[in-house]
Subunit: 226 residues, 2 copies
């Protein structure tokens, strides 16, 4: 892997993309700091359990679970508002799905930047996927490129922080293959939007994951309801 | 005031700048929604009390206090870390003061944007002051201009949100005069960084406030320890 960089902060939902993202960060940094956000999402207890399992697996030098439950108070998403149903996937739709949590990834980035500035970490990893994704606006490359400019403007003059989104242009099936190559522990991850118990197999997130493993010709190690 | 716009979200610390900012927002919008962040700052209980008093005064259509105490866990600021002393003001220094909370204003903006998107509010008001301020990097006009681009990229295509920082180029004394013209209730505000009881008069924030009222030739209606 050549010379290892210093510290990296890794935003980690506990899903497959953030797991592969963590494996990439861990391979090129001397220490990794794992960040997870509780935004009142339906499956938070499952996600948080996986977050800690992944932090153990990757031997994180620090871990931070932040309370972003004001996102659930604000609402507007099927992930946080029980009155909005989690719809079955429409993978080829141009519409922004009901699971979009308004501006959510900006909250993760804000916390990651504050933490990175105090730690002296120069990289923030986030497993956003643009090409082959649900179509969330805060998963686009331009969003991260512009956010990086905001970071340069809004922190100390000597602070240098890159926002690294190594998966953003990959197809989900390529992320599966990359994860297998890196030895990423997919068995520890959680992707389902509906349930924290047994993955439903039909929500946006399950459908994207299942299609990715299928296209990669690899068996998904987690069990599904159907 | 001419035609009034729709809804505005106002970020409100409870200090003099955010109070004047709220008065401006209230004068030009049919309804105002007040947002306050608890980031574990020393004087949060005083700030929160003033936030609610100001929300009552301006008849806010909604109010949201969000938990950003992970900023205190992260630390790096005299406002959140009891081990770092709140220094006396050095108003002409070029250094970033110890009271800088890393990237704090990005956290307020992230919450404000999520809330504004769900409410359908098109304006976010924030009382940042660049010219005559403590020199925080996240109080610069460029930071807000670039953040506005991030908002356009990271929200639904139909969402239009402006970040309005009407005080950013004003001197603090001009803000006092503007507030007096608008009938802003300065007696309800809190600025001190050190104490939640009786303002110290010597920290950065008190020193800036006192100088502003002095230069404006107006008596500050709140009591001071010295």
């Amino acid at each position: 892997m050549g010379e290892r960089n210093g510290k990296a902060v890794v935003c980690l939902s506990g899903g497959m993309d953030s797991c592969v993202c963590a494996a990439l960060a861990e391979a090129s940094h001397s220490s990794v700091y794992f960040l997870h956000g509780d935004y009142g999402q339906r499956t938070e207890s499952a996600e948080r359990e996986r977050f800690h399992a992944l932090a153990d697996h990757f031997d994180a030098a620090g871990r931070l679970v932040c309370d972003l439950r004001h996102l659930a108070t604000i609402g507007g998403s099927s992930l946080t508002d029980p009155a909005i149903q989690v719809s079955d996937a429409e993978l080829d739709s141009e519409n922004i799905p009901s699971s979009y949590v308004p501006f959510r990834n900006a909250h993760f980035l804000a916390v990651a930047v504050s933490w990175a500035e105090v730690l002296g970490a120069r990289s923030i990893y986030l497993g956003a996927v643009e090409q082959d994704s649900s179509g969330y606006p805060d998963c686009r490359r331009e969003f991260y490129d512009t956010f990086e400019k905001v970071v340069a403007l809004g922190t100390r003059p000597e602070t240098r922080i890159r926002i690294v989104t190594p998966l953003i242009e990959l197809k989900k099936s390529e992320i599966v293959r990359l994860g297998v190559d890196l030895g990423a522990p997919f068995q520890l991850t959680w992707s389902c939007y509906r349930s924290g118990d047994l993955a439903c197999g039909t929500c946006d997130s399950c459908a994207l994951r299942l299609r990715a493993f299928h296209e990669a010709g690899i068996e998904d190690p987690i069990p599904y309801r159907r």
